[in-house]
């Protein structure tokens, strides 16, 4: 019931977000045609604007946009004019989603064990080494780690391709470069969650009953300790799945992250609003999933 209510509540939220994105871009001076190579004559400019209804008042444009959206049509990109926004999303999104999903898998696969292990070995050298590693990767931006990985693995040792997105060999470096930051975040959250869980009463009670330490940490503490990671994974997945400009740019991957930045630079209204909506839908949907997963993992949590 609660989740149904939130699902219904998401619709006005999405409307507000689309209106805000729309207004934001229209408030910005200049337009999508300012950077065309040759400045058009006034008549042609007027004709282009009339064609895309840019001469109408903003609210009218917005309602026209909403009307098209109701039919599942995100409009035509004003910069890449032979592509509709639907085309761009349909082409780029699967690539970005695969890259993001691989990076998510990497982040979880590295972050969870490191966080668990450092907490279990608290105060020993393994803890210091692991904690330093997770802090370090949080501080290394993608545009530093990606070129370094390319320099080492592709150019120096010639093990992996420099770029592009074709065979599985192409799909090793980009997810690592993208996922390392998140692996560090996950490890830090996991470590803190474990430390809190290990101090809680139910763990003390289980230990008093004579439960073995391994079983205690894995079965009892882990389940509660992973909750912060679960709630972080919603926004994290939304970020990862909508593509990363830096990684896609450096590795020449035809994803959607490049469009997110370029559309904003070009003030390409339909593309900006479309991509903002896509991001918001993913974020809201994933947060809903996360909160649902919460109720499964922690029986104390109940939503009214």
């Amino acid at each position: 019931m609660y989740f149904l209510k939130r699902l219904i509540f998401a619709v006005p939220l999405l409307l507000v977000i689309s209106a805000l994105a729309f207004a934001l871009v229209h408030l910005a001076p200049g337009g999508p045609f300012d950077r065309e190579r040759a400045p058009a004559s006034p008549e042609i400019e007027r004709a282009i604007k009339a064609k895309y209804h840019l001469d109408e008042p903003v609210w009218k444009q917005y309602f026209r946009y909403l009307g098209d959206l109701a039919h599942g049509d995100f409009g035509v990109s004003l910069k890449y004019r032979n592509h509709t926004v639907n085309d761009i999303i349909a082409q780029g999104l699967p690539v970005s989603m695969l890259l993001g999903a691989l990076a998510f898998g990497f982040a979880m696969g590295v972050g969870l064990p490191v966080g668990f292990f450092t907490a279990a070995r608290r105060g020993r050298w393994e803890d210091y080494a692991g904690s330093f590693f997770s802090m370090l990767v949080v501080c290394v931006p993608g545009f530093v780690i990606a070129p370094l990985l390319i320099l080492l693995f592709s150019i120096k040792w010639k093990l992996l391709p420099v770029g592009l997105w074709e065979t599985p060999w192409h799909m090793i470096l980009p997810p690592i470069a993208l996922g390392l930051f998140f692996a560090g975040k996950v490890a830090r959250l996991m470590r803190e969650g474990m430390l809190n869980a290990m101090q809680s009463e139910f763990v003390t009670a289980a230990r008093a009953k004579g439960l073995g330490e391994n079983r205690l940490l894995l079965r009892h503490a882990f389940r509660i300790a992973v909750l912060p990671v679960v709630s972080y994974s919603g926004p994290m997945l939304a970020d990862l799945l909508t593509g990363s400009f830096v990684i896609e740019n450096i590795f020449q991957i035809p994803g959607i992250g490049v469009f997110l930045v370029n559309s904003s630079l070009n003030l390409d209204y339909p593309l900006i609003v479309g991509l903002s909506l896509l991001y918001a839908i993913l974020l809201i949907g994933l947060n809903l999933v996360v909160d649902f997963a919460y109720t499964l993992l922690d029986p104390r949590v109940k939503y009214e």
Binding site: L13, V16, I17, L20, A21, L24, V25, L27, A28, P29, G30, M135, L136, V138, C139, V140, P141, F143, V144, P147, L148, I150, L151, I155, K156, V162, E192, Q199, P228, T242, F245, V246, I250, L260, V261, S263, S264, L265, L267, I272, L275, S276, Y279, A280, L283, I284
Partner: protein, 342 residues
């Protein structure tokens, strides 16, 4: 990093004296000999955190270096100053690190070491100013929402929710292009290009701060909301304390630790974001440089024939170590003030 023993004591103290502000951790009320303010106790705990102290010294050292280096260049003069002038073009392009150019030279033969130190001015300033802007907006927004409550609260927090669901990058780019365009239309441009360049940097500072206040607002609101109903605030109100007195005497001092901690963690986040924007070419414009633009130049020189590793390794290394130090410092402050992460 507080030991588990200490944490347990915190809980005991909280149970015995429910009206005390949450920032105190050692049971000073139980032991009359050990009487120190929450701030003093936080400072003692901070000093015991080795990573945080080392980080603080590293940052002090970096600040000294970036202040001293231009002076050194000016005083020494002659060829030394000319070789290390960050804007001096020379024929020694792509010289590897050596005795003359400690960090090598870039495509135009400029000294990378000098460029990093001059870039540090912008990269660090953007973090501090941006965090300051986010502090002002976030604390005001969160405090008003939490203190006034009711409809105002839900309205203010819905705005935060909506802004959260918008991709930050779109917001930043549109904001920066709008402000930049407004600047272009004003009269400054004709008068002085140098002034315009500096104003652009200021815009970048403000713009980054303007998109980084959301989490701060949420944290402050949560804190104020829980403090508002606490017994000592009720008591002050019952004794006739007005909202100004309650805010100034009770709420703000108790939120202080959380705010300082989160502020310390906002600085590296903004430094990182600035380097990202500069990497995209949206940040500072040449001939000015920040660490982000230096790394971007290094990345653009990647080719399979020759490896100019120093163009990425040194600016990247300085950026990463600085971010590390700032984060360790923030973590140290958090543990010292015993702020819960939620």
């Amino acid at each position: 990093m507080s030991e588990p023993v200490e944490r347990r004591e915190t809980r005991v103290e909280g149970n015995l004296t429910p009206g005390r502000p949450p920032s105190g951790a050692l049971p000073s009320t139980l032991d009359p000999r050990q009487h120190s303010s929450p701030g003093q106790r936080a400072w003692q705990r901070f000093r015991r955190n080795r990573a945080a102290v080392v980080s603080a010294w590293y940052l002090v050292f970096l600040l000294l270096a970036l202040v001293a280096w231009p002076i050194v260049l000016k005083v020494s003069g002659g060829t030394f100053a000319q070789i290390h002038d960050p804007n001096q073009l020379s024929d020694a392009a792509f010289a590897p690190p050596g005795a003359q150019h400690w960090f090598g030279t870039d495509v135009h033969g400029r000294d990378v070491f000098s460029r990093i130190l001059f870039g540090a001015q912008i990269s660090l300033l953007v973090g501090i100013v941006g965090a300051g802007v986010s502090l002002v907006i976030g604390v005001l927004w969160g405090a008003i929402a939490g203190y006034v409550g009711g409809r105002v609260d839900s309205a203010l927090m819905r705005v935060v929710d909506v802004l959260y669901s918008l991709p930050t990058i779109i917001f930043v780019i549109v904001l920066l292009t709008t402000l930049g365009e407004l600047l272009k239309q004003s009269h400054f441009v004709e008068n002085s290009p140098a002034l315009t360049r500096q104003l652009r940097v200021v815009l970048l500072f403000v713009g980054l701060g303007a998109v980084s206040w959301l989490t701060m607002a949420r944290i402050v609101r949560g804190q104020v909301l829980s403090l508002r109903t606490r017994a000592f605030v009720e008591a002050s109100r019952a004794m006739g304390g007005g909202p100004v007195r309650i805010l100034a005497r009770h709420i703000i001092p108790n939120v202080f630790g959380v705010v300082i901690t989160y502020l310390a963690l906002t600085v590296p986040a903004i430094v990182l974001y600035e380097s990202f924007l500069s990497y995209l070419g949206l940040g500072v414009q040449p001939p000015m440089a920040s660490w982000g633009t230096l790394i971007a130049e290094g990345v653009s020189q990647i080719n399979p024939i020759r490896i100019y590793w120093w163009l990425i390794a040194f600016p990247g290394g300085v950026l990463v170590t600085t971010l590390l130090a700032l984060n360790f410092l923030g973590d140290g402050l958090r543990d010292a003030w015993d702020v819960k992460s939620k």
